[in-house]
Amino acid sequence: MIVNMRKLILSLAVIGAMVGMPALAQFDNTLNSLAAGSAVPSIEIDPPFPKPGQEITVSLKDYRSGSQGSAITWSTNGKELPEMKNLLSFKLDAPGSGEVLQVNAYIANAALGDTVVNVEVRPYYLDLVIEPQTRVPEFYLGRSLPSIGSSINATALIDNGVNPNNLIYRWRVNQTVLDGGATRGHNKVSFPMPIGNDSIISVEVSQLDGTMIAKKNLRLPSVAPSILFYEVDPLLGISRLPIVKSLLMVGNSATIKAEPYNLDSRTYNSPDISEWKVGNTGATTLSGNPYEITLEKTQVSGGFDLEFHVRNTKEVLQGAKKSIKVDF
């Protein structure tokens, strides 16, 4: 009966690993612990790869029959924690980056004998720098955001002082493993933004011996490209204030620039459609820049709708359309 149960647990562990649920690290660890033999007590850390200084939960997993009455003495780096005596779980802060925290549990049990279990916490900062290859105006100080189908560059930076070439990186976007699996030195990847609102990118960093030292999951936002209009002065350059709803033309002419935000850079550079409409009539730009149009008054007063449409006809979600009212 016990043998059958063990097989069942092992089977569950294998299925769990195949399905691939790394985000549920605690679940994985529990399965592993059970699979490795429930008779062996262990210490579990949650989250399993904390940031430096992050609060962690330390839990003793002792599934041995008769272990309930054990006296547990906890210590960190050799120093006893009397206030944690006999607790099965407690919280403490992870050490600083690269520092080591040895957590020990001394389990005294008259029937099972005395057992010592320990775990080592060595946190690192694992930063994921996301660089969407989408377009924002030159004066925009921030980072662009991914839009569906656009390319994204991601860089993993770990502050353990080890050359990235001597580490193994395993990248995953949603359920898709990148680079064909874990690869040495590949701390940078490029991939297209999947369809959907958000995606999850994850990276696991291991030493060359296969020991995982850090792991990170990050939610990647996906936004629709958008357009804002800005007035351009031939001498003073582009205004920093967008034309939100309407523009009042004071002089005889005005130059308007359509600035797409978060549009795939490839689409921006060679759009299939880049079309201005002045009062529902197609208009051509004379400047050679498809994103800029110069308007001239033809009457003393009046108004019209000004619309700009940019799109990639092969990736139809890579596009945006916006209009404003122009009065004069």
Binding site: D127, L128, I130, R143
Partner: protein, 406 residues
């Protein structure tokens, strides 16, 4: 009850109401004790009906911003130095005995003007045209200038040397793919440039035309909060977005990067060597925090602002001068501010990072009657604070009656 009875009761009620209305209109009156005026309206004696929660706005004393011709040695306060946009400026002290001047650069032409801070005289000191000039930086000794001309793929960067005998500049191109540049207190330039997939920090010495690499960041989309000179500590973070995570790296004078325990969404930062002021999204809000590097602790700052609205004071790591508004800082910052969709009516504050307190230097909006969205601040490290208004790129000066770090 019969229908005529209803009609009679209704008519009587209407007549009574009309009688009351006629009495109130013509015969009732109240007198105001304060004004001793008789008012032709009924006092229905409802008591104080003013909303007890309403706080009247402070009286705005609009003195109007002064022009620079008002400046003299004993003048303090707020001055609007230009009415037209500028693309770069610098307080220039040619030598210890000379009067301080403000150099500023005109967009489009790249022409350079000088304002004498004693006499208020403005003169053009460079007629050399830099076509489509869009950004400039000038060294504090007034000898060198760096230009960006054009935008996008066609942009160019050049170094100029002011002629000592004429109102011209001799220029030479820099071929690096420059992203950002700033002058140093040592009369050199610091700039960042894209090299393959990295952003490289460089130091350019115009006197010798030498360029040296200071550091390399392993990604491109980075903002660098420059120190005052090559030896100073610089800070870097991925360009901010409220939808993406950012983190701060301290860059030592040796070029090594140290990850600080400072991260968050929409994060931007400015550092002084001992402290980092950083702002980021905090749930549905946007907050500013001060991180003390020595003891690795962070606390919410006494004022909320965008670090891009702050500048340090040379040789003093305790203070920052910041533009900040009493406003609702939404979680979608700084993106909407970068786009120009949000703007702020800033005041000028001196932030003490050690005590986590802030002292108001200038209530800009009240003093000038203008909406000023403060950017590109610089101090002369004594009592002058220069800044531009993001809304129109005009140049402003605040002169403090005390030194800034007192």
């Amino acid at each position: 009850m019969k229908r005529p009875v209803f009609i009679i009761i209704g008519a009587v009620a209407i007549l009574i109401l009309m009688a009351v209305w006629v009495y109130v209109l013509f015969f009732s009156s109240t007198s105001s004790e304060e004004t001793n005026q008789t008012e032709t309206f009924a006092n229905l004696d409802l008591g104080d009906t003013s909303d007890p929660n309403y706080v009247p706005p402070p009286t705005t004393v609009n003195t109007g911003s002064k022009t620079i011709t008002d400046v003299s040695e004993d003048m303090v306060g707020l001055f609007q130095l230009t009415t037209l946009p500028v693309i770069g400026y610098q307080e220039v002290q040619k030598d210890a005995s000379s009067t301080a001047e403000v150099y500023y650069v005109e967009p489009g032409s790249g022409h350079v003007y000088s304002i004498n801070l004693k006499s208020g005289e403005t003169k053009k000191i460079s007629r050399t045209t830099i076509p489509a000039a869009s950004k400039a930086a000038i060294t504090p000794n007034g000898k060198y200038i760096m230009f960006q001309s054009g935008n996008g793929l066609g942009k160019e960067f050049s170094i100029g040397i002011f002629s000592t005998s004429s109102d011209t500049i001799s220029t030479g191109l820099i071929t690096d793919r420059i992203v950002d540049f700033t002058p140093t207190t040592d009369n050199t330039f610091l700039y960042s440039a894209i090299v393959d997939g990295s952003l490289v920090g460089k130091h350019y010495i115009p006197a010798t035309d030498k360029i040296e690499t200071l550091f390399t960041l392993p990604f491109r989309e980075a903002t660098i909060a420059w120190g005052n000179n090559k030896q100073a500590t610089h800070y870097s973070y991925p360009k901010a977005s409220y939808r993406l995570e950012g983190f701060v790296y301290e860059i030592s004078s040796k070029g090594t990067l140290t990850r600080l325990p400072v991260d968050g969404y929409g994060l931007s930062a400015i550092g002084t060597g001992d402290y980092v002021l950083f702002s980021s999204r905090d749930g549905d809000f946007y907050t500013s925090n001060i991180h003390q590097i020595n003891n690795n602790t962070s606390n919410e700052a006494s004022i909320t602002t965008l670090p891009e609205k702050c500048t340090g004071i040379s040789n003093n790591s305790t203070y920052l001068v910041c533009g900040a508004a009493i406003a609702n800082y939404g979680y979608s910052l700084p993106d909407r501010w970068y786009q120009g969709l949000d703007s702020f009516a800033d005041d000028l504050w001196l932030v003490n990072l050690d005590t986590n307190s802030a002292r108001l230097l200038s209530a800009i909006n009240n003093e000038s009657g203008r909406l000023v969205d403060v950017v590109n601040l610089k101090t002369n490290n004594v009592d002058h604070v220069y800044f531009q208004n993001k809304l129109d790129q005009t140049l402003w000066l605040f002169i403090s009656d005390t030194t800034l770090n007192e």
